[in-house]
Every structure is written in structure tokens, then in C-alpha cells.
């Protein structure tokens, strides 16, 4: 009898431990869990990416092992473009150009990056709406809507797996509710064994030209120097500010990051004259908008997954910092 009671108790405890802990309906909690899942779980999957008339099928492999995170994104269409990122580098393979770009990561040690903390402050700029439960690729999901309160940020609609909180489908929405971008999984495997071979490029890059950016050389600015945005949409604050030296040059690039806690905009400022300058005005890659201008010999570029009017407003207000105007 004692053995039976202990066995039943053990099973009860095991059952409680296995029960989904995502019982709350608060969409903010679900978003936190989603971010945690995206950064800490092992998973592989095939998904479709829709943007501006493009429909791409892709594969993702994400592994966290021995404190190291590696992620690989592969296009399954065309000639197999892919990106591999780990703690130290981001490697982009472009078969059509027979080139490989290796970018040193600034924030080494984690792929978590800016995991947003959903404070009540976000309620000033977004409405978080629990919508419904829905089945997708055989899994039950919680559908959550994040609705911006003004036209300076995008909205989201997310289908989060109830078991893992991974987003099985996501839609990025403009200010009139139109879908700008959509990611939809066709299949996903979580917590399986991921071999090293699954994280290596599928393409033979022999003969490719490899471009490797130099080691990041941070430059320390004197207080009161550097650049700042003079006008910001409500809720956007400066969250990061670095200055990096450019290899074999006396010049540097200032990188500012402004965020409202969910959306973020990067501003890059560097001297005019180096090869690869952007044309002034607005440009776009997918759902990311960029706005570039020149000011007294410097090119200023604001880029982010925000509406065009946001990058234009922030970028147009960037000026050299003075002690009086410092934020």
C-alpha cells in the first residue's frame, strides 16, 4: 500500500510538472514566453515567408547547447541563400553573387539581444488583445493581437503554440490593418536532437569570395559629443549608443538605437565619401524601412521595422549633440 501511495504521489507530481504552465490569458505573459521560447528552445521547422508579393519557403534550425546558441535560416527556393548566426558572427551566403559576408557581432555571448520586458509602459502605445484559441498544423494555439495606438509602429497578430509558446504563424500589420508580412510554419519539431551538420551551410562555398568585417573597434566618445535625435515619437527612448572605428580609416560610425520597448529603430551616422553610400530618401527591404539624408558632411540613416514615417521623423531630427541638447 505504501508503495502504491508513493507511486501515485510520484505520478501526480509528474503530471503537474508536465501540465502546460501557460494557463493565463494575459497576452503580455504569452509574449514574454514567446520571446523566451524563441531564444532558449531547440527547434527545427519549415515555414513560408510572405512579403510584398514574395512567397519564400525557408527552413530554420535553432540550437542551444552548452551555453551557446546557433541559428541557421535557409531559403529552400532558388539557389539556397542562407544565414548562420552564433555568439560571435553572422554569416550570410549569397550563391547568386558567389559571396559570403561574415559580420562580427557586437554583443557577443548571446543571441537573445533585446528581449523586450513587457512593462505597463507599453500599454501607453499598444493594446494587447487576447483573441481566441485556434488549431494550426495540428497544434492548439493562442491567438494574440498587438494593436498600436498610433501610426508610428506596426501591429502584430500571433498564433502561439499553447505547449511551447513558439509562434506558428505571425502577421505584421500596418496602420490600416493590412498584412505587410507573414510567417507561417508548415512543420516544426521542438526539443529534438540537432546535429552539428544541420547547422553547417548546405552550399559548397569553394571559390566564393569571403568578405569578413574587421573586429569591432569601439570608440569612446567624450560626454556631450556624438549624435542624438531631436524629435522622437511617443515612447521611443535611446536604448543603445556605440561608436565604432572603421577598419583602415580614421573615420567612425555612430550607431544609436531607439526603442519603445517593442519596436526599435537604429540610426547610423558616418562621414560622407566612403563607397556604398545610400541614396537620400526612403528605401525598404521587406517590412524594414530606411530613411537616409546628409547633414554637414555626414550621412544619417534610420532603419527599423516600423512605418516609413517613423524612420523619416527620427532620421530627419538627428543632429550633433551639444551639452544643452543631450538626452
Amino acid at each position: 500500500m505504501t508503495f502504491l501511495i508513493r507511486t501515485l504521489a510520484f505520478l501526480a507530481i509528474a503530471q503537474l510538472s508536465a501540465a502546460p504552465s501557460y494557463a493565463t490569458d494575459d497576452p503580455r505573459d504569452w509574449l514574454m514566453r514567446m520571446n523566451n521560447a524563441l531564444t532558449t528552445l531547440n527547434y527545427t521547422g519549415v515555414f513560408f515567408y510572405f512579403n510584398e508579393g514574395r512567397a519564400e519557403s525557408m527552413k530554420i534550425v535553432h540550437r542551444v547547447a552548452d551555453g551557446r546558441t546557433v541559428e541557421r535560416l535557409v531559403s529552400l527556393d532558388g539557389v539556397g541563400r542562407e544565414i548562420i548566426r552564433d555568439q560571435d558572427e553572422v554569416t550570410c551566403i549569397f550563391p547568386a553573387k558567389k559571396s559570403v559576408l561574415i559580420e562580427q557581432r557586437r554583443e557577443k555571448g548571446t543571441l537573445i539581444g533585446a528581449v523586450p520586458q513587457y512593462s505597463s509602459r507599453l500599454d501607453l502605445y499598444y493594446d494587447f488583445v487576447p483573441m481566441r484559441r485556434e488549431r494550426l498544423i495540428g497544434k492548439m494555439t493562442r491567438v494574440i493581437s498587438v494593436v498600436p495606438r498610433d501610426g508610428f509602429r506596426y501591429g502584430y497578430e500571433l498564433w502561439l503554440d499553447e505547449e511551447t509558446a513558439l509562434p506558428l504563424m505571425s502577421k505584421l500589420k500596418g496602420d490600416n490593418g493590412n498584412v505587410i508580412e507573414q510567417v507561417r510554419f508548415a512543420s516544426i519539431t521542438v526539443n529534438g536532437v540537432i546535429k552539428d551538420s544541420e547547422l553547417r551551410p548546405a552550399i559548397d562555398t569553394t571559390g566564393f569570395t569571403v568578405f569578413r568585417t574587421g573586429e569591432k573597434q569601439l570608440v569612446k566618445r567624450l560626454p556631450g559629443t556624438g549624435w542624438r535625435a531631436g524629435e522622437l515619437p511617443a515612447g521611443f527612448e535611446l536604448t543603445a549608443n556605440t561608436t565604432e572605428g572603421i577598419t583602415d580609416s580614421d573615420e567612425s560610425v555612430d550607431h544609436l538605437v531607439y526603442s519603445d520597448g517593442l519596436a526599435s529603430v537604429s540610426v547610423f551616422v558616418e562621414a560622407v565619401g566612403r563607397k556604398g553610400e545610400l541614396m537620400p530618401g526612403l528605401s525598404r527591404i521587406g517590412s524594414a524601412n530606411a530613411w537616409s539624408t546628409e547633414f554637414e558632411g555626414f550621412q544619417i540613416t534610420a532603419v527599423g521595422e516600423v512605418p516609413a514615417i517613423t524612420v523619416e521623423a527620427i532620421g530627419a531630427s538627428v543632429r550633433p549633440q551639444t551639452r544643452d541638447a543631450r538626452r
Partner: protein, 194 residues
């Protein structure tokens, strides 16, 4: 490919395919290369047909910004959006916001010559072997607008996890091959209609 399947793909792109059929179609797309090619072609054709309305919307945006700046009498450094309209408070003295700047057409490829592998690299001789070319932090060859690609990669480090991934998706979905394939797809359908 059956006509029914083609109709399903078309309806899927337009957001009109019933939920019950979407799951089956998604699974089919994941394993069927021909289906995926059809999906991409139909998605592009639909975008091309809608492209004029997209460009007009962007042009209107720029003019709206100009009008809003000119109409505001005061400024406190905060941008607000009231009643669904975007109102940008007048910039502080000395800042000239180019609200009437000619708007560059929305395109994924801004400077065709930038980042071309035909250009000699800045630092060392180009190699077809295994050694790497060290380049400045703001140079990237993978896109015709190499610097913007580089900026996006750096920006992705500061985006939320899902946002950073989507930024990278845009980069690998932006190779010239996509444009070439798209052009071929459009030509093919034009010929089919003749």
C-alpha cells in the same frame, strides 16, 4: 498541376482560402517544389498588379508629412498621432526637415552598382581561394545596397527575437536571384496570355 490546386494557391495568396483547406495546402507546399514555384509566381503577379497603388500610398505619405509640418505652430520635441492622423510638430529652429524631398520609389534595390562583386574590394585583392577579404564594417556585397544590408544585420542585434529574425529573412530573401526569377516568372505569364 491540377486547376483546382492552382485555384487553391491563388485563393491562399488572396487570403480567401477556407481554413480547412489551408492546412492541407501548407503541407503540400512544404513538400512540392512545383507548388512552391507556382506560389511564388502567383504572389509576385499579384504584387505587380497592385504595385501602382502601393507607390501612390507612399507618395501620399510624404506629402502628408510636409503638410503636417507646415501646419503646426509650435514644437516641444514630441511627435504625436491624433485621431488617426499623423501630426508632426514643427521642428525646432535651425532644423530643416526636407518634407518635400523627392521620394525614392519603394524598391528593395536602391543602388544597383553598390556591392557589386565586379568592383575591386577596398582592402586587398579579390581572391577566389579560401582567404577572406577584410572590409570596413559598413561594406557588404550581398545586396545591391550593401551598406543597407550591413545596417540591417547590425540592427538585428537590437531587435526583439522575432523582429531580428524577420530582418534576417528579408536579407536572405533579397538576393538578386529573387529579382531575376521574378522577372522570368512575369515574362512567362505574359507570354502565356498572348
Amino acid at each position: 498541376m491540377t486547376e483546382k490546386l492552382q485555384n487553391q494557391i491563388s485563393a491562399f495568396i488572396d487570403g480567401e482560402l477556407p481554413d480547412a483547406e489551408q492546412e492541407l495546402l501548407i503541407r503540400r507546399l512544404a513538400r512540392d517544389t512545383e507548388c512552391r514555384a507556382t506560389l511564388r509566381r502567383y504572389a509576385l503577379i499579384g504584387s505587380v498588379m497592385r504595385s501602382s497603388s502601393v507607390n501612390l500610398a507612399v507618395a501620399d505619405l510624404s506629402q502628408g508629412v510636409a503638410a503636417a509640418i507646415e501646419s503646426e505652430p509650435s514644437h516641444d520635441g514630441t511627435l504625436t498621432d491624433e485621431d488617426g492622423l499623423l501630426k508632426i510638430l514643427k521642428p525646432i529652429a535651425g532644423i530643416a526637415v526636407a518634407a518635400t524631398v523627392a521620394l525614392v520609389a519603394i524598391t528593395s534595390f536602391q543602388s544597383p552598382d553598390v556591392g557589386s562583386t565586379d568592383e575591386p574590394p577596398q582592402i586587398s585583392q579579390q581572391t577566389t581561394g579560401g582567404s577572406a577579404i577584410v572590409v570596413p564594417a559598413s561594406y557588404a556585397p550581398g545586396d545591391s545596397n550593401g551598406r543597407l544590408t550591413n545596417y540591417l544585420i547590425q540592427h538585428s542585434e537590437y531587435s526583439a527575437p522575432m523582429g531580428s529574425r524577420n530582418v534576417l529573412l528579408e536579407i536572405i530573401g533579397n538576393d538578386e536571384v529573387v529579382a531575376e526569377e521574378a522577372e522570368q516568372a512575369t515574362d512567362g505569364d505574359e507570354k502565356a496570355q498572348e
